[in-house]
């Protein structure tokens, strides 16, 4: 056991000029207890049968692929206006708002049934060269995901991709081409793991998920199957996301495809229910790039909200007068950069303060506590999209009318009233703020078991969570535009 390190806390200089030291606080070594396992869902015979069935997740893949083809056809060949196009409504009013909820409930399950993954598998099966993934992608893949997510959001604002069925359709075609290239060249689902921006978001959000897949280390130690869970067998492929179940300690790179469950000869894989966000409290090797993505998502939600609010033109005008131009691309790009920089900068600032109070540097703190902001991220994202889902949800029925030769109704597309939606949004935000605060507390307590130290270190992050939470609350009090 490591000897407890001793820390001293300098106190402000006394009037006499003498420097007085506080009593020495012995700092305990970090707590390294592993994440506890919850109820194993594999103990339920029906669940077990489903996971082991060759039809899982194939049946879902087929259904989703059929929906994808329909949406693609509508986007590319359907009505030109967003509010009349069923593809746009299904994609941006139904699917996009539901996806963070799915990540929260079931981790990256969507990635197992995603139509792009299915296309990747088909191309790979027919013509795949199965070359190893380039080291560059492995090393910088998550940064590419960060950059591409920011770039896509910027492009959407610049060219109105979401508001244009054709624009959304072309985006889908571009992604399909990228997936075809990746499937033709590289092994497994390299695109999903290293390039997909939604996969990056999924990896981030799924760490808050309520189900998780893990292997039983005790059984794995005695396994003689040469990692068939990872490598695959003649009947079932290996892990599509390059994860070795025995060392898996995060949901970020598991899509619950159940390949490892089917391949494992020892029944060592469990799918367990757990407390939401629990994984974040037990993160021992945080990565700065993941924390950066969390902050970038926070910035993106910020700009998405702001650009749909009544204050948006005033913000643009203020920026325009500050930089001396009214040229929209320049003004918007500056606004966008500021929105992304705010959460990143605030986390860096909090980390700098924390670094002076604990024994880790700024970037270590940035990585470690950046994970604590993920629950607030998820909540803000859900709250934003909940507005679109519940205030425009009926549009999916309305846009179906013309498909049957009927006239499209002009009623309100709202499923719920504004007040009810707002109550749900604030409830979600309150839960997100509470979960992020608690995650800060747990992360600090695990790293610094000494009460005094973990309080000092976590204080700036509490302030950050509250500041970002209140910013979101303020935004949701203002009128917001519809998506379609």
């Amino acid at each position: 056991m490591t000897a407890p390190e001793l820390t001293t806390t300098p106190e402000p200089q006394q009037q006499s000029g003498q420097r007085k030291l506080l009593p020495v606080v012995p700092a305990l070594p970090p707590d390294m207890t592993p994440e506890p396992r919850g109820k194993n869902l594999m103990d339920f015979p029906l669940f077990r049968r489903v996971m082991k069935s060759p039809l899982y997740p194939r049946v879902f893949q087929w259904a989703v692929l059929a929906g994808f083809v329909f949406v693609g056809y509508q986007l590319l060949a359907g009505p030109d206006t967003a509010h009349q196009n069923m593809g746009t409504v299904l994609m941006w009013v139904i699917w996009w708002p539901l996806i963070p909820i799915l990540f929260f409930l079931m981790g990256r399950f969507w990635c197992a049934i995603c139509p792009f993954a299915t296309i990747n598998d088909w191309v790979q099966k027919v013509v795949g060269l199965e070359r190893p993934v380039p080291p560059f992608l492995k090393k910088y893949g998550i940064w590419l995901i960060d950059a591409s997510f920011i770039a896509i959001t910027w492009a959407d604002h610049m060219w109105g991709v979401v508001a244009s069925p054709w624009g959304s359709g072309v985006m889908v075609l571009l992604l399909t081409t990228a997936v075809v290239v990746s499937g033709a060249l590289w092994q497994r689902r390299a695109f999903c793991r290293y390039l997909c921006f939604l996969g990056g978001v999924a990896g981030n959000y799924s760490q808050t998920a309520m189900v998780t897949l893990r292997a039983n280390e005790k059984i794995c130690k005695t396994c003689t199957s040469r990692a068939v869970c990872y490598n695959g067998s003649a009947a079932v492929p290996g892990c599509p996301l390059f994860s070795f179940p025995r060392t898996l300690d995060s949901n970020a790179n598991c899509n619950l495809c159940a390949n490892c469950i089917k391949n494992c000869p020892n029944d060592a894989i469990s799918v367990t229910a757990r407390k939401p966000t629990q994984e974040l409290w037990f993160m021992d090797k945080p990565r700065v790039e993941v924390a950066s993505l969390a902050m970038a998502i926070m910035g993106i939600v910020l700009i998405q909200n702001l650009s749909m609010l009544s204050v948006w033109p005033a913000i643009l005008a203020a920026i325009g007068s500050a930089i001396g131009t009214t040229y929209y691309p320049v003004v918007f790009t500056v606004a966008f950069a500021i929105a992304i920089a705010i959460p990143v900068g605030l986390l860096a600032l909090a980390s700098k303060v924390a670094a002076a109070r604990g024994s880790e540097g700024i970037w270590q703190n940035f990585g470690r506590f950046g994970y604590a902001l993920i629950p607030l991220d998820v909540a803000a994202h859900m709250a934003h999209n909940l507005f679109h889902l519940l205030s425009e949800g009926k549009a999916v029925f309305f846009t179906a009318f013309p498909l049957f030769g009927l006239e499209m109704p002009t009623d309100s597309p709202a499923l719920l009233g504004s007040s009810a939606i707002q109550v749900l949004q604030f409830t979600l935000l309150a839960l997100g703020i509470a979960a992020s605060l608690y995650a800060c507390y747990r992360i600090a307590r695990r790293r610094y078991p000494t009460t005094e130290v973990h309080r000092r270190v976590s204080a700036p992050y509490y302030a950050l969570v509250i500041a970002l939470g209140l910013l979101n609350v303020w935004m949701f009090t203002l009128p917001m535009l519809h998506r379609v």
Binding site: T81, A82, H83, V123, V127, L129, E130, P132, V133, P135, K138, H157, W159, V161, A163, S164, P165, W166, G167, L173, T176, T177, V180, V181, A184, L185, Q187, R188, R226, A227, Y230, F244, R246, T247, D249, S250, A252, D284, S307, M308, S310, W312, P313, L316, Y328, S391, T410, D411, S412, A414, G417, S418, S419, I421, T477, L478, P479, L481, H482, V484
Partner: protein
């Protein structure tokens, strides 16, 4: 708290019916009038213009051709043995057991066909 209004009368207004001089939103071609209290949320951003029928066909044909070319090129490489070699190499690598580094999921750093 101004996301209020007469919820039952919230009616979408398509962009093409919006008052002239009112730019449309980046994200929406319609407005919920009940929530649109004094808010001309519009920006100067445009929406991707849909090309005419011929333009659409050109774009779709280009994407189709590009994807088919990629698939054909990969297929030819595989038939010529280059892909098969890589596949064989990858399969051989995949027969080894990944290193067991507790506390990391970054198996791919050591493994994933590059072993």
């Amino acid at each position: 708290m101004s996301q209020s209004g007469d919820e039952s009368t919230a009616t979408p207004v398509p962009a093409e019916q919006a008052p002239s001089g009112s730019p449309t939103s980046t994200h929406g071609s319609s407005h919920d009038t009940a929530r649109d209290e004094g808010a001309d949320h519009g920006s100067a951003a445009a929406t991707v213009a849909t090309p005419d029928e011929a333009g659409r066909r050109v774009v779709l044909a280009s994407f189709g051709t590009l994807n088919l070319l990629v698939i054909a090129a990969a297929g030819i490489l595989r038939l010529n043995g280059r892909g098969a070699g890589a596949k064989k190499q990858a399969k051989q690598a995949a027969r080894s057991v990944p290193p067991v580094t507790t506390g990391t999921t970054r198996t791919d750093d050591h493994f994933g066909g590059n072993a």
